[in-house]
C-alpha cells in the first residue's frame, strides 16, 4: 500500500470506509426499521386508545390539516370517535397533543400531550402534576367531556363552572392556555376539513 | 484685554476640590531665613543630564559661585548657596528617598560674599541668545515642581512655533502659598521676568493664570500690569485641583489640548511658574544665580507656619526650626503639597530648587484607617483630568498586566492624585499607577534589549 501514491491512497481509504459504513448502516436499518416503525405504531395506537373511548380499530385519513384517525367498533361502521394530532407552540417550544373528539365533534373525549419541552415541574404539569397527590394527571383528564363550542376557556384558581371551561395549572398559565389555544384553533380546522368531506352531519 | 474677559472664570473638565488650608500662611508676609550653617547641594536638581562637581573637598566657595555643571544642553548648572568651605562631595540622603552625590558646604562666619553673573545693560535690547545663555548660566529651572531647565523651554525647535506664554500662578495644591506671597510681594519683578522670557521666545501674547481664590493677587497683578504698561491678559481660573498642571492650565486658558504624550510646545505654548519668572528676572537683571527661593513651611504639626525665603540646600530641619519646630504628634513630612508631595523619613535632607513647600501633618489627619476592595464606583474615572480609568490601571498593575496598563494609558497619568483622593475604598491608586509605569518601562526595555 505504501507504494501507492498519496492521493490515490487518500481516495481509496476514505471511499472504503464510507462504503463500509454505508453498508453496515443499511444492514442495521433493515434490522431496526420494522422495530422502530412498530414502536411508533404502538405509541400512536396507545395514544389514540387513551383519548378515544373503547374501539376495535381505526382508519386514518389524510386531510389538508393533517391526518385524522377515525375509530370504529368491529360491529358497526359508525365511528366512536375521531382523533388527530394537534401541534402548536407552548411556553418553550412545540407541543404535540393527541386529541380525541366525539363523532359529532362537539365534545372532547380526551387529550394526551405526547411531546413538549415545557419547564420541568411547571409547564410539565399539563402532562403530569406531582403536586396533586390524588390525581397527578388531573389536567389532561379534565378535558374528557368538555364541550368545544363555544371555545375552550381556561379559568384560574377556581373550579370550572361552564361546560367549555377547564382549570389552569398553577404557576404556568401560558402552558395551560397554549393547550386550549391549540385545541381551539385546530379543532375548528379539522371540523371544516371533516365536514367538507361529508363527515358527520352535525 | 477687555474687562469682561476677566469676569469669565475658566477651567478644565473634571478634577477635585480638596480643603485648601491656605489661610494658615497666605496672609503672612514672607520672611528671609537667616543663613544656614551648612548646606547640602545635590549635583542633580533638574530634569536632564546630571552635573559634574567643579569643586573639591577643602575648596572655598562664594555665594553664587558655580560649583557644578554639565556640557549637555538639557541640564543646568548648580551654584553655591552660601559662602564657605566644601567639606565633602559624596552621597547624602535626598528628598526622593535615595542617597545621591551632593556638595556639602559649611559656612565660614557671617560672610555672605556673592559672585554675580555678568548682566546685559538692558535686557530689552540684549540679544535673545545672550539672554538664554544667561538663564542657563544662572541655573534657572522650573520652580513649579518638575525642575525642567528653563533655557530649554526658551529655545523651542523650529518646527514648533510658540505663540503664547502662560505664567502659572494657580498654586492649586492645598497648604502652599509661596507663589501667592511672591505675586503679592514681588509683583513687578515677576511680571518683568515674564516679559524677559517672552522676549527670549520672541512672542507677544502672555497670560497670567491665577486661581480665583487669590483675589488679592489677581487685583495686584492687574493693577501692576496696567501701570507697567504691559499687555498681559489676566485669566482668573476656577479653584479646582489640578488647575496648575500645565495641560489643564493650557486647556483652561486657551482651550487647547496638549496631545497625549505631547508637550505644551506642541500647541505653541510655554508655561512657567511664578517663582521661575522671578528667578529669571533676578538672573538677568540682578545677575543673581538661582540659589534661593521662597517655600511654604506649614501643616498642622508646625508651631508657626509661614513662608520663608531660604537658601537652596538648607536641611529641612533648619527650615522647620525656623518656623518654631514641630509639634509632638507628627507623623508625616512631605516635600510639596499633600496631593503630590514626597514623604520624608529624615529631616536632614536638603531643600531643592524645586522645593515649594514643607508640609508637616499630624497622624490623626492622615493614617488611612482601612482599605477596601475597589467597588467600581467610578468616582476616580469621574475626576481624572487626563480621562484615564484609574481603577482599571490599578487592577492591571496589581495583576501584573503591564502591557494592558500601557494600552489603558498609564503613561498619560500626571500623578496628580485626584483619583486616590476621592477613592472611597482608600486604594493607593497613584502608587499602583507608578508601579505600572515602572514595570511597563522595564518590560519595554527588556523587550528591546
Amino acid at each position: 500500500m505504501s507504494k501507492m501514491n498519496l492521493s490515490t491512497r487518500m481516495i481509496l481509504v476514505l471511499t472504503l470506509i464510507t462504503v463500509l459504513s454505508g453498508g453496515i448502516l443499511a444492514g442495521w436499518d433493515t434490522i431496526t426499521k420494522p422495530k422502530i416503525a412498530f414502536h411508533r405504531q404502538e405509541a400512536l395506537k396507545a395514544a389514540i386508545g387513551d383519548v378515544l373511548p373503547a374501539h376495535d380499530t381505526y382508519m386514518s385519513e389524510e386531510t389538508e390539516f393533517g391526518t385524522i384517525y377515525i375509530a370504529t367498533r368491529d360491529s358497526s361502521e359508525q365511528p366512536v370517535g375521531i382523533a388527530f394530532m394537534a401541534v402548536g407552540s407552548g411556553f418553550q417550544g412545540e407541543l404535540r397533543i393527541m386529541v380525541g373528539l366525539s363523532p359529532d365533534m362537539t365534545q372532547l373525549t380526551g387529550i394526551k400531550v405526547l411531546e413538549q419541552i415545557e419547564t420541568p415541574g411547571l409547564g410539565t404539569k399539563i402532562v403530569v402534576d406531582p403536586s396533586n397527590k390524588q390525581d397527578p394527571y388531573w389536567f389532561p383528564a379534565q378535558f374528557k367531556g368538555v364541550h368545544v363550542s363555544p371555545e375552550l376557556v381556561v379559568v384560574k384558581n377556581a373550579k370550572p363552572t361552564h361546560t367549555n371551561e377547564v382549570q389552569g395549572i398553577t404557576g404556568a398559565t401560558i402552558s395551560s392556555k397554549a393547550v386550549t389555544d391549540i385545541l381551539n384553533k385546530q379543532i375548528a380546522d379539522i371540523k371544516t376539513a371533516w365536514t367538507s368531506r361529508g363527515g358527520p352531519e352535525s | 484685554m477687555s474687562e469682561s474677559s476677566q469676569l469669565h472664570i475658566s477651567t478644565f473638565r473634571r478634577g477635585v476640590h480638596p480643603d485648601e488650608y491656605k489661610n494658615l500662611t497666605c496672609h503672612l508676609p514672607s520672611q528671609i531665613m537667616s543663613l544656614p550653617d551648612e548646606v547640602f547641594i545635590p549635583l542633580q536638581q533638574h530634569i536632564g543630564a546630571p552635573c559634574e562637581a567643579l569643586v573639591e573637598k577643602g575648596d572655598l566657595v562664594k555665594t553664587g559661585q558655580k560649583i557644578a555643571d554639565s556640557p549637555a544642553f538639557v541640564s543646568s548648572p548648580i551654584h553655591a548657596s552660601i559662602t564657605g568651605t566644601v567639606v565633602a562631595v559624596t552621597s547624602f540622603p535626598h528628598p526622593l528617598g535615595a542617597k545621591v552625590p551632593m556638595i556639602h558646604i559649611k559656612r565660614d562666619g557671617e560672610e555672605d560674599e556673592w559672585e554675580l553673573l555678568k548682566t546685559p545693560e538692558n535686557w530689552e535690547t540684549a540679544s535673545q541668545e545672550d539672554l538664554g545663555k544667561l538663564v542657563r548660566e544662572a541655573g534657572v529651572v522650573g520652580l513649579g515642581g518638575a525642575a525642567f531647565p528653563t533655557h530649554v523651554k526658551m529655545s523651542p525647535p523650529a518646527d514648533k512655533p510658540i505663540d503664547h506664554f502662560i505664567l502659572n500662578g494657580c498654586e492649586c495644591e492645598p497648604f502652599l502659598t509661596c507663589d501667592h506671597r511672591n505675586m503679592l510681594e514681588d509683583t513687578d519683578r515677576i511680571l518683568k521676568g515674564m516679559a524677559i522670557m517672552m522676549r527670549i521666545l520672541g512672542i507677544k501674547q502672555g497670560i497670567v493664570g491665577i486661581e480665583s481664590n487669590k483675589a488679592d493677587a489677581i487685583a495686584t497683578i492687574e493693577a501692576r500690569v496696567k501701570s507697567l504698561n504691559l499687555s498681559f491678559k489676566i485669566q482668573p481660573l476656577k479653584v479646582k485641583y489640578p488647575q496648575g498642571a500645565e495641560k489643564m492650565l493650557i486647556d483652561a486658558a486657551l482651550g487647547r489640548k496638549v496631545p497625549a504624550g505631547g508637550l505644551p510646545m506642541d500647541v505653541g505654548v510655554v508655561v512657567n511658574n511664578i517663582a521661575t519668572a522671578l528667578a529669571v528676572y533676578e538672573a538677568v537683571v540682578d545677575g543673581k544665580p538661582l540659589i534661593q527661593r521662597m517655600l511654604t513651611v506649614t501643616g498642622d504639626a508646625i508651631q508657626s507656619p509661614g513662608n520663608l525665603t531660604s537658601r537652596i540646600g538648607t536641611p529641612f530641619q533648619i527650615c522647620v526650626d525656623a518656623c518654631g519646630g514641630l509639634k509632638d504628634e507628627t507623623s508625616q513630612v512631605f516635600m510639596g503639597g499633600p496631593m503630590m508631595g514626597l514623604v520624608q523619613y529624615d529631616l536632614q535632607v536638603p531643600t531643592l530648587k524645586a522645593t515649594s513647600g514643607i508640609v508637616c501633618m499630624q497622624s490623626s489627619q492622615l493614617k488611612n484607617t482601612r482599605h477596601y476592595p475597589c467597588i467600581q464606583c467610578g468616582t476616580c474615572v469621574g475626576v481624572c483630568p487626563m480621562n484615564l480609568v484609574p481603577t482599571r490601571l490599578s487592577r492591571l498593575a496589581e495583576t501584573a498586566k503591564y502591557q494592558d496598563c500601557k494600552d489603558w494609558g498609564v503613561f498619560n497619568c500626571i500623578e496628580c492624585g485626584s483619583c486616590a483622593f476621592v477613592c472611597p475604598s482608600g486604594i493607593p491608586l497613584v502608587q499602583w499607577i507608578r508601579v505600572g509605569k515602572v514595570k511597563s518601562t522595564e518590560q519595554q526595555q527588556k523587550a528591546q534589549a
Partner: protein
Amino acid sequence: MTEENLPQAQPETPKKPVKPKKDPRAKLYKPETPLILASSPHFHTRDTVPRIMWNVIAALVPATVLALVYFQWAAVGIILTSVSSALIAEMLVNKVKGDSFTIPDGSALITGLLLALTLPPSFSLGGTALGSVFAIVVGKHFFGGLGYNIFNPALLGRAFLQASFPVPMTTWIWPLTARYADVDGITAATPLGLFKFEGVSSELSGLLTGNISGSLGETSAITILIGGLYLLIRKYADWRIPMSFLLSTFLVSGVFWLISPESYPSPVFQLFSGGLMLGAFFMATDMVTSPVTARGAWIFGTGAGFILVIIRLFGGLPEGVMYSILLMNAFTPLINRYTRPKFFGEIRA
C-alpha cells in the same frame, strides 16, 4: 540544615541572644520618631465604602418600613431571615477564606435586605434563606468577594429562587391581609400580571402608594423615590443609570403604546409598575456590577430599559426588571472596555 542555600539569611529564631549586651544590632540606627512612609496623595475625602453602603441602607428605610406596614409579620419574617442569612453566610465565608471580618462594610446587609424587598410576601422563609446564602456565596464570593462580582448578588439570588420555585415566586398577596401564622392572605395578581394575563390596567394611585400586590419593597413608587433621590443627591449612585433606565423604558414602551394602545400598556403604567423603580434606583446602580464610565452608564441604563420592555411585552413572564439588570451586568465588562474615555489630548484613529 537540610536546605543548604546559605545566601539567604539563616532565619534567626527569635530566641533571646545569649549575651544581650553584645547584640550587634545595638549599633543600628533607630529613628527617634518614626515617620510614616506613604505614597501621595496624602489627602483623602471622607467617603468610605462603609459610609456609602450604610447610606444606601438608610435610603432603603422608607421602602422597608412601608413593607413592614403593608405586609406585617410576613415582611418581618422575610426581612429578618434574608438579612441574617446573608450576614451569617458572609461571616462563614470570611472564616473559610481567612479574610478579615467584613460585616461592618454593610454590603452583605444590603444584599440581604434588597433580596428580601424583592421577594413576594408569602414566600417561604426556608427559600428566603436559600436565596440569600446563594447570593452571598455564589453571587459574590465565588467571584472574589466585594467589588469583583459580575452579577448583582441579590438579583442573582432572586433569579435562582425564581427558577427554583416559580410558583411561590409568582404568588402574590394583597397588602394588609397577611398574618404570620397563615401566610395565605388574599392572593392577587400584580398589576403587571393583571395586564399581561387579563388585560386589566391598574390605578396610578395604587402604584404610587404601594397599596397593590407585589414584592415586599417594590410596590410603592413614592417610598423608593424618596430613598433613590437621596442617593442621587448624595452622589452615592450614578444618576445616569436610573435616568436612562427609566427614560428608555418610557420611550420604548411609549412607541408600542402609540402603535396599539389597546394591546400594550401605557408608558406611565410601565414606569410605576413592577420592580422598575426599585431596580432602577437601587439595583441597576450597584456600582460593582455597572459600568465605571459615564458613557457606559448611559448604555447600561438604556439597554436595561429596552430589554425590560421586550420581556414585559413579549416574554412569558409579566416582569423583567431582574433579568434586564442581570443581562446588562453580563455586558458590563464589555461596556467598560469599549467606552474607555478618550485620553486627554488623545487623537483616535
